[in-house]
């Protein structure tokens, strides 16, 4: 266990309760909507914010322990923090910014030179941050962080300040860097695609509360909670309750379904991903009659919004996504029957 975090902080209206562990050499995603406490968690680990209760341990070194009254200052935590806006010092040049990170004064010059070359910053040495592109600024910030020889990396939405055409290249660069970093890496984002591409494990944060860590694969294939399901991009969810014979009643969709799997304790919702829903001919088990409400044409696919027997408001709607040529023969059918196959039904708790 390289980084263990178990912290609590009370802000009155908002409560932070976060617990997770991250291994050496592993990129862990902290996924959550904005305002759910992701950045706050990083600030607590870095020592910028002080939790009310709990413990933070990095490689056996206690950074924070409320009961033993241990609270190391940020200067002694050896935490590399990449801020959302990179927080480069605007009054200093690229080399001066990187030099700030170097702790060993005797080796300052060679360390800076090495980092300038390994982050492709030759020719930019004497520019100020304001004269650099977003991607270059991020490279300077990362070089400055690595100059301080951190034992853990905290990345706070590293791509949010970049134009979309730059993002892809910067993400590839960062991915290479992360794979060579020996310590644990925490990656904060609200973007599920970034989690999928960069992280091995993920911890979902919902309104200040962390949920158990999952392998990234599991988040997308079998999310177990409503918030994980929504964050993983699933648009079709319905409130649900247990019915007879192991079946489940989808309250918003007005239909009873056979999930073909045992129901979890505390089942509250079910979900189905948009591209797993199949249009079919006529009624049958796990099928429901729907009415087309709206058709949205994407570049390569067609998104169809439908009302269910449960109604036409909010969660009652279903959304399916089909290739264009598959939609053409279906257009105009009323009702349009849809099948939710048992293996595609996600059983969710709150």
């Amino acid at each position: 266990m390289a980084l263990q975090v178990d912290i609590h902080k009370d802000f009155g209206k908002f409560r932070l309760n976060v617990a997770f562990e991250s291994e050496n050499g592993q990129v862990t995603g902290l996924l959550g909507a904005s305002g759910c406490g992701k950045s706050l968690t990083l600030k607590c680990i870095a020592g910028i914010e002080k939790p009310d209760r709990g413990r933070i341990v990095l490689d056996g070194k206690v950074l924070f322990d409320a009961e033993q009254h241990i609270n190391l200052p940020p200067q002694k935590r050896r935490v590399g923090y990449l801020f959302q806006n990179y927080a480069l010092f605007p009054n200093m040049t690229v080399v001066q910014n990187i030099a700030v990170g170097v702790r060993d004064k005797a080796r300052r010059k060679e360390t800076v030179a090495r980092l300038v070359s390994s982050f492709w910053l030759e020719g930019q040495e004497h520019k100020r941050p304001g004269q650099l592109s977003g991607g270059q600024q991020q490279r300077v910030a990362l070089a400055r962080i690595l100059a301080s020889e951190p034992e853990v990396l905290l990345l706070d939405e590293p791509f949010s300040a970049l134009d979309s055409y730059l993002k892809w290249q910067v993400e590839l660069e960062l991915s290479d860097l992360l794979s060579s970093f020996p310590g644990p890496v925490l990656f904060v984002t609200h973007n599920r695609d970034e989690v999928q591409r960069l992280c091995k494990a993920v911890c979902v944060l919902d309104n200040g509360r962390s949920q158990p860590m999952l392998p990234v694969k599991e988040l997308f294939e079998a999310p177990r909670t409503l918030s994980a399901c929504l964050l993983s991009g699933c648009k079709n969810v319905s409130r649900a309750r247990e019915a007879a014979d192991g079946k489940v009643e989808a309250l918003d969709w007005g239909v009873t379904l056979d999930p073909g799997q045992p129901l979890p304790e505390g089942l509250s919702h079910i979900g189905v991903r948009a591209h797993y829903i199949k249009p079919v001919e006529g009624p049958g088990p796990n099928r429901l009659p729907c009415k087309v409400e709206r058709v949205v044409e994407n570049v390569f696919s067609t998104v169809v919004m439908l009302s269910t027997p449960g109604g036409n408001q909010g969660f009652s709607r279903l959304r399916i996504e089909l290739e264009k040529e598959r939609w053409t023969p279906l257009a105009g059918k009323d009702p349009l029957w849809l099948e939710l196959a048992p293996r595609d039904i996600l059983l969710l708790t709150c």
């Binding site: 590399g80 801020f83 040049t93």
Partner: protein, 232 residues
């Protein structure tokens, strides 16, 4: 013509500005960190001299530093120095009256400072002192300079509190503003006019400097070609 009032005014304004520079910045820095209630109360107290009539400030200063008050008595007994009706008495008056200008401008500059820069410095192992002098002050430079110039201008023009605590003694406590009043009162219209023009010129230059500082603030960072130095 006797230029003593010009010299005396400049020396008083310079000394009180130097005092306020450090006091104002320190107050702005520490008040910003206080809990909200304390901050609100202190903010009112520290800004009050800006809106009080200078005569009220003068009255308070006399109550505090007068020769029959504890502080005044102590200075007289121990250092054999009067705190009122001497040239440096005016420093107390102009420092108190101009302090809020420095304090408020510095606080405004600190408040618009991106605190992530300070956090970044700390996680990189730098001390708070280093961050203050090497990052915060350079980033807030323009605001602080503007505050200093404004404070200097106000200190130079101080009249009410100065007249009460330093009085008007030609060649001793006379400043530009007290001289203008004295000359006008004694019917020397030409002399008064001359000092008015001198005062106008100084104030215009000072305000011009403030405007130039503010314009500079809006511009992007200067081209770095000329800048090439290592951090020590």
């Amino acid at each position: 013509m006797d230029l003593y009032p010009l010299f005396n005014s400049l020396r008083i304004a310079a000394i009180s500005t130097a005092l306020i520079f450090f006091l104002g910045i320190a107050a702005a820095y520490y008040v910003a960190k206080l809990p909200r209630l304390v901050k609100g109360v202190l903010d009112v107290v520290l800004t009050l001299p800006l809106v009080l009539p200078p005569t009220v400030v003068g009255y308070f200063l006399l109550r505090l530093l007068g020769p029959k008050r504890p502080i005044g008595l102590w200075f007289l007994a121990v250092l054999d120095a009067r705190l009122t009706m001497v040239w440096y008495s005016a420093i107390f008056a102009s420092a108190v009256v101009a302090f809020p200008l420095m304090y408020r401008t510095a606080r405004g500059a600190f408040e618009s400072f991106d605190h992530n820069l300070a956090h970044a410095g700390r996680t990189l192992g730098k001390s708070n002192t280093w961050i203050f002098w090497r990052v915060m002050m350079p980033c807030c430079k323009q605001g602080i300079l503007a505050g200093t110039v404004l404070a200097f201008a106000r200190a130079l023009g101080e009249y009410g509190a100065t007249a009460m605590i330093a009085g008007y003694t030609p060649g001793k406590t006379a400043t530009i503003s007290t001289t203008v009043y004295q000359l006008w009162r004694t019917g020397d219209d030409e002399g008064a006019m001359m000092w008015v023009l001198i005062n106008l010129a100084i104030s215009a230059v000072v305000l011009l400097a403030v405007n130039m500082l503010e314009k500079k603030q809006g511009r992007p960072l200067p081209r770095a070609a000329a800048v090439s130095g290592e951090v020590e």
